[in-house]
């Protein structure tokens, strides 16, 4: 399925936001999702709703993290 992930055309085989996060978490070898958040089509998806929020073709997904800043 094709989605726009952080502004880029990306092919994923994920059904939910949780699936997508699990993929990122494994790739990044992270212990938890602290410091990260996800928006779908311009709206925050709270962490408690990740597993029940499905991903559809052409969705715009943003995965963000807290990093250094002024």
């Amino acid at each position: 399925m094709k989605i726009y992930l952080n502004g880029k055309n990306t092919e994923v085989d994920c059904f939910t936001i949780q699936d997508l996060w699990n993929r990122e978490q494994a790739e990044r070898e992270l212990d938890s999702s602290r410091g990260f958040a996800i928006a779908r089509n311009g709206a925050l998806v709270p962490k408690r709703e990740w597993s029940t929020t499905s991903i559809n073709t052409n969705d715009k997904i943003e995965i963000v993290r807290a990093m250094s800043g002024g």
């Binding site: 992930l5 952080n6 502004g7 880029k8 990306t10 990122e24 790739e27 990044r28 602290r34 410091g35 990260f36 958040a37 996800i38 928006a39 311009g42 709206a43 925050l44 709270p46 962490k47 943003e62 995965i63 963000v64 993290r65 807290a66 990093m67 250094s68 800043g69 002024g70």
Partner: protein
């Protein structure tokens, strides 16, 4: 006498808030934050890089109170979404609200800033808006429910110090909420001036991060903020256009 600095009911141990961007290394960042004695550090919210994984600044700063910002946002809508993402990511409802109206000067877009402040306050955020050194705007932001106002000393990253001390003094005298002078600080004396004008605190980043020795400058800023606060409380003498002898005028030798 206790001289507490309180924001939204939280007593903070330091009147210096430090940004965490642009340090030469993670180690220097860690040491500078520690030496500064600050309790609150600012962080940004950015898309993860899909190629690189980056370093975990948040883990490094875990013992400090994190103040996420909406730096780079140009509309109330983007700033509100960024604030929501920050709250979810970091489990804090504090937000340093920046809505930029012009990339050249990084001046705030005041109408978007006010609109975003109102909305975020309604959504339960503790809103700390970065704003112009404009007494009217600062009043409007406080009326809108901002927990503090953060007028600029001068342009972000400029190091020009407090460009309009009369305005900052006005704002400090009249503000019903704490005033944190944010941006433009270039060196320790600038921070002293901001505090002497009556600011509750100073927020700075570049002056420390881009100095030749950030850890040393972090210590200088710690003392500057403390000195400026003490001098403000002590009350400066009036400026005079003539000399006033400090030694007694009676009993001069040879008179």
């Amino acid at each position: 006498m206790k001289d507490e600095f309180v924001i939204a009911g939280v007593t903070l141990s330091s009147r210096l808030l430090l940004g965490t961007a642009g340090y030469p290394s993670q180690r220097i960042l860690r040491d500078a934050v520690q030496v500064s004695g600050c309790e609150v550090v600012t962080v940004s919210i950015r898309r993860i890089s899909l190629e690189g994984h980056g370093t975990d600044t948040i883990e490094l700063l875990s013992k400090y109170r994190l103040l996420p910002n909406t730096a780079g946002c140009e509309t109330a809508r983007d700033a509100i979404l960024t604030a929501e993402l920050a709250r979810e990511a970091l489990e804090t409802n504090w937000i340093k609200l920046e809505v930029i109206g012009d990339r050249e000067t990084l001046y705030p877009d005041t109408s978007e800033l006010l609109q975003a402040t109102r909305k975020l306050v309604d959504m339960g955020f503790v809103v700390l808006p970065y704003c112009n050194d404009d007494p009217v705007l600062c009043m409007r932001l406080a009326d809108a429910g901002a927990a503090a106002v953060m007028p600029m000393g001068s342009m972000i990253g400029s190091g020009l110090g407090v460009a309009n001390p009369a305005n900052i003094e006005h704002i400090c005298k009249r503000s019903p909420v704490p005033v944190i002078v944010d941006a433009g600080i270039g060196t320790a004396s600038d921070a002293v001036i901001a505090m002497e004008l009556g600011a509750s605190a100073v927020l700075l980043n570049t002056a420390v991060a881009k100095s030749d020795d950030p850890v040393l400058m972090a210590g200088a800023m710690k003392h500057a903020v403390q000195s400026g606060r003490l001098a403000y409380r002590a009350g400066r003498i009036p400026r005079r256009g003539r000399a006033e002898p400090s030694s007694p005028q009676m009993g001069l030798v040879g008179s």
